[in-house]
Amino acid sequence: MIVPRYTREIPQRFRLEAAECTGCGKIVFPPRRICPKCRGKTFSPRNLSREGKILSYTVIHVAAEPFELQIPFAVGIIETPEGARLTAQIVDCDFSELAIGTRVRLVMRKIQQEGHAGILLYGYKAVLER
C-alpha cells in the first residue's frame, strides 16, 4: 500500500465521511463528483452511522499476500441505515454466528501493515451487535 493512496482515503476510513446528493438524496460513499443515480453535482456532507446489517458474506481461506497471516477471515457487504453499502471484514465472532441480515457495528481497527517498519493502515471493520 502506498502512503498517499492510503492517506487520501482517511476521511472515509476513519470517519465514514459520505455525501448526500441534494438532488435525489442518494448517499454516496465514498463521495464522488457526480451522483451515480441522478447525475447531480451538488452534495452536502454526511457521516454514516456506525451501524449496519450483513447483505452477504464469505470466509476467505486463500488471501493476497498482505492478508496471508489473517486467514481464515470473514468479509461481508454491509448496508448502513442511510442506504450506503460498503465491504468490510467481520471480526470478533465465530464464523457460525454469521448470517445474512445480522446487525453489525463498524469499529476502527488495523486493516493492513506496511512491511515490518512501515505505517499501520487503519480503517473500519464490522463486529456483531450483541
Binding site: P30, T58, A63, P66, I78, T87, I111
Partner: protein, 383 residues
Amino acid sequence: MKEVAIVGVGLTRFGELWEQSLRDMFTEAALAAIADSGLDRIDSMYIGSMSPGLFVHQEHIAPLLADNLGLAGIPAAHVESACASGGLAVRQAFLEIVSGASEIVLAGGVEKMNDGSDVTFALSTAADQEYEAFHGVTFPGLYAMIARAHMHQYGTTREQLAQVAVKNHAHGINNPYAQFRIPMTIDTVLRSSMVAEPLGLMDCSPVSDGAAAVVLTTAERAKKLGKPYAVIRTSVNVTDQIALHDRDNVASLPAVGKAAQQAYKQAGLTPEQLDVIEVHDCFTIAELVVMEELGLVERGKSGPAVMAGMTTLGGKIPVNTSGGLKSKGHPVGATGVAQIIEIAEQLRGTAGERQVKNARIGMAQNMGGSGGSCVIHILEGRS
C-alpha cells in the same frame, strides 16, 4: 453497416506453459489464426490482456507483439477490461472494420499467469482497489458473496454449483486445448479445499497461461475465401459500477442482463434461437447467474436447470462445450477470444466430438471483474 466475418482462428493449449513466454504464446496463436484465414496480410491488430505489467512486468505489449509477429509498422493497441479484455479486443477489431478504417484485423488475447507473480493480488486489482481489495476481499471472495446471496434468495445448493463444474469438465475432456481434461464428480467438488466459502477450489477456474487469436474481415471478402465462416450478428459492451456492494441485488450481474437485452434487440433474436453458448464461468456461481441474466431460465431457476441437464451437450441449449473457463483454463486476457473461437468452430462444424448438431447461431459472453463490464457477441455460421 458493413457485415464483419471471422475467417481464421488460432489457439495455444491452455495450462502451465513453462517453456513459453507471453510473446511466444501470442505469436503461436496469431500465426495459427492467420494461416487458418488463408489471408496474406493484417492491416491492424488489438490485443486483450488484463495485466502483463503485474504478471510479467511487461507493458507496451501492442508494439512488442506486432513486432514479434513480423508486423512492426502496423497500428496495434492493447485493450484492457480485466477478464473481458479478450472480448473487448474482438469488439474493437469489429468496430474498426465496420468503420471502414481497415479491411483485415487481427484480435488476440494473451495472459501469462504462472511466472511467479502474486496472482490473487493481481486479479484483485480488477475490483475497487480502495474499497474492496483494501479490506482483503479476493475475487473468489466476491463471487462467494454472490453465491451466498443467491443461495439465501433462491435456495441454490452447493450441489447445484458443483454440477456446473461436473458438466464443464465432461465437455472439456473432448477439447485438445483444455488445461484439465479430467472428469469431475459432485463429491470431488464438495470435498475440495475451501477458497472462499461456499466456493471450494473445484468451484474456481484455474490459473492459466495461454493465447488465442482471430482474424476478422468483411463478409464480402470472407465469401471469396470459399470456406465456411462466421459473421458477427452483434457486438455489445456494457459497463456497471465495479464494486459488488454497489449492486442493488448482490445475487445479480446487471451488466450481463443489459448486454444480453441489447444484443437480442440488435440481432433481432430471442434466447430460444441460440444453438450454443459460451459463458464466463470464472466460478461455478457465475455460470448460474449468467444463465439467468441471458434469459435462458427465470431468476433463481438456474441451479435446477443445470441439474436437469438443460445446458449439457445434447441438452436443450449446450453451454460451455469448450469446457468453459473451469476445465479449459482461464488465461484472463485470452478467454474472451477463446470463447469466440469455440463458437466459430461450432458454427463452421469443426468442433469434433464437442460438435452441437446443426449449430447455426451462437453467443459468447465474456465479463470483467465481478460484473463491472460485459462483452457479448452473437455469431452466425455461413458457408
